[in-house]
Symmetry: C2
Subunit: 231 residues, 2 copies
C-alpha cells in the first residue's frame, strides 16, 4: 500500500499487480460501466485527450464520460456518476473517461504487470482475482495530491480481506487497515466525511455516496489491456 497516487512516481511496477482505488467515484463508475456490458473504458488524463481519442476511434462511435469539479463536462455524453452507466446507456459501447484523479492514476500505473480498478462495489471480485498473486500494490488514489478517507478506508478493507485469505501485509498496509477498522460498520460515514464526499455533497450529488458504499454489488474485475479497461 502506498499513501496516494503521487507515490507511484518513479516506481518500477513491472513485477506488481496494482489495484487502483478511487472509490468516489471513478472506480465505482468503471465497475458499473463494465457490469452494464460496455465494450471497454479508456481512461484519459485530459479533456483534450478525450476529444482526440474520440476522433481517432470515430469508427467505434465511443461515448465521452467524465467530470471536472464533480460535474459532467460540456459536450460529453455522460458524467461520472455510476448510476448513469446503465446497460441502456453503455452496453456494447466504448467509453472514453476522464476524471480529476482516478483516470490519471490508472494511466500512471500502466507499467505494472497488471492494473485492476477496485472499489467497494467490486471488492470481493477483485480480492478473489488477486488472492494468489505474489506482489499486490494497492493505490488509494487521493485528491489534490493528498490521501482521502474514502480511498484509504477502501484500501484498508482490501487489506483485511486479503489477510483473511492468507496474504501478509506491510506495516503501511496495516495502518490503512486501521483506517478501515474505525469505519467498519459505517462505511457511508467515511464516504460522507471524506474530502471527496464533501465535494460531492456540495455539488448536489450526494446520492452517489450510499451507491458507492455497496460492498460487492458488482461481480466484475476491470483490467487494463491495450489502454482500455475490459472485463
Amino acid at each position: 500500500v502506498v499513501p496516494h497516487a503521487a507515490s507511484l512516481q518513479g516506481m518500477e511496477l513491472s513485477r506488481w499487480t496494482v489495484i487502483v482505488i478511487d472509490a468516489i467515484r471513478a472506480s465505482s463508475t468503471i465497475a458499473q460501466a463494465i457490469a452494464s456490458g460496455c465494450r471497454r473504458v479508456i481512461p484519459v488524463a485530459t479533456i483534450r485527450e478525450a476529444h482526440a481519442t474520440r476522433r481517432a476511434l470515430a469508427a467505434d462511435r465511443p461515448l465521452l464520460g467524465g467530470e471536472r469539479r464533480g460535474l459532467r463536462i460540456e459536450g460529453f455524453d455522460l458524467g461520472n456518476s455510476p448510476r448513469e452507466y446503465t446497460p441502456e446507456a453503455v452496453a456494447g459501447r466504448s467509453i472514453i473517461l476522464t476524471t480529476t484523479n482516478g483516470t490519471k492514476a490508472i494511466r500512471a500505473a500502466a507499467g505494472a504487470r497488471a492494473v485492476l480498478s477496485g472499489a467497494f462495489v467490486n471488492l470481493p471480485a477483485v480480492v478473489a482475482q488477486v488472492r494468489r498473486r505474489a506482489r499486490v500494490l494497492i493505490v488509494p488514489v487521493g485528491r489534490s495530491n493528498a490521501p482521502v478517507l474514502d480511498d484509504v478506508v477502501c484500501t484498508g478493507m482490501f487489506v483485511e480481506r486479503l489477510l483473511e485469505v492468507g496474504a501478509t501485509a506491510t506495516p503501511e498496509a496495516e495502518v490503512a487497515r486501521m483506517a478501515y477498522a474505525g469505519y467498519r460498520d459505517r462505511l457511508v460515514d467515511a464516504l460522507r466525511e471524506s474530502a471527496s464526499g464533501q465535494a460531492l455533497l456540495k455539488a448536489g450529488l450526494g446520492d452517489d455516496l450510499p451507491y458507492c458504499a455497496q460492498v460487492g454489488l458488482l461481480n466484475v474485475v476491470p483490467r487494463l489491456e491495450n489502454g482500455g479497461l475490459v472485463p
Copy 2:
C-alpha cells in the same frame, strides 16, 4: 510519521524531534511517573540491563519498573501500570524501566535532536512543546514488529492537533490521522480493539485502558537527556 518503531532502523535522526508513542502503556506510565515527581525514568531494553543499571547507580537507590507479558517482572519494585506510579511510590526517585516495546523504541531514537515521550495523557503538552519545531517525526511504537491500533490512533490525534496549529503533514501522517478519525469520539474502543489492549484485557489489567485514554490528564513533556527521561 513512520508506521512503527522498526522503521527507525538506519534512519539519520540528528535533525529531527522524535515523539515516541506507546500509548498502552509505557508512554502513559512515563508521563505519570514524571507527573508524580520522580527524578528521572531511565529506559533500558532488557531485564539484565535493568539490574546492571541499578548496580551502577546504587548510590541513587533507583527503583526497578517494567513488564514482560504485561506483568511485573519478578524482583522489580513496580510493574508497567501508570496507576502504580503515584507520588507516594516514586517522588524524588530514579526509575529504571524496561517494557516489551516502548523502552526499546525510546532507546532506538536516542540519536535524534530531541526525543519526547507522548501518549493521550500528555498529548496537549507535547503538541504545545513541538508546535514551532521544523521537523517532527512521530513514531507509533507497535508490538511484535507490527503497528498497533492504540499507537497509530494516538499518532493520528497528534497529527490532527499539529495541523490545527499550522503544521503540514506528509501523506503517511494523513493516513495515520484517518485511523484516528474513525475513533475520534470513542478512543477507549480503539484501545480495547488494539492488540496491546487485547493482551492487557487477557492479563486482567483492563482498568488501565480508560486511564490511558484520558487526553490531557497530565501536563508533562518527558524528554530524554543523558539516557534518562526528565521533565
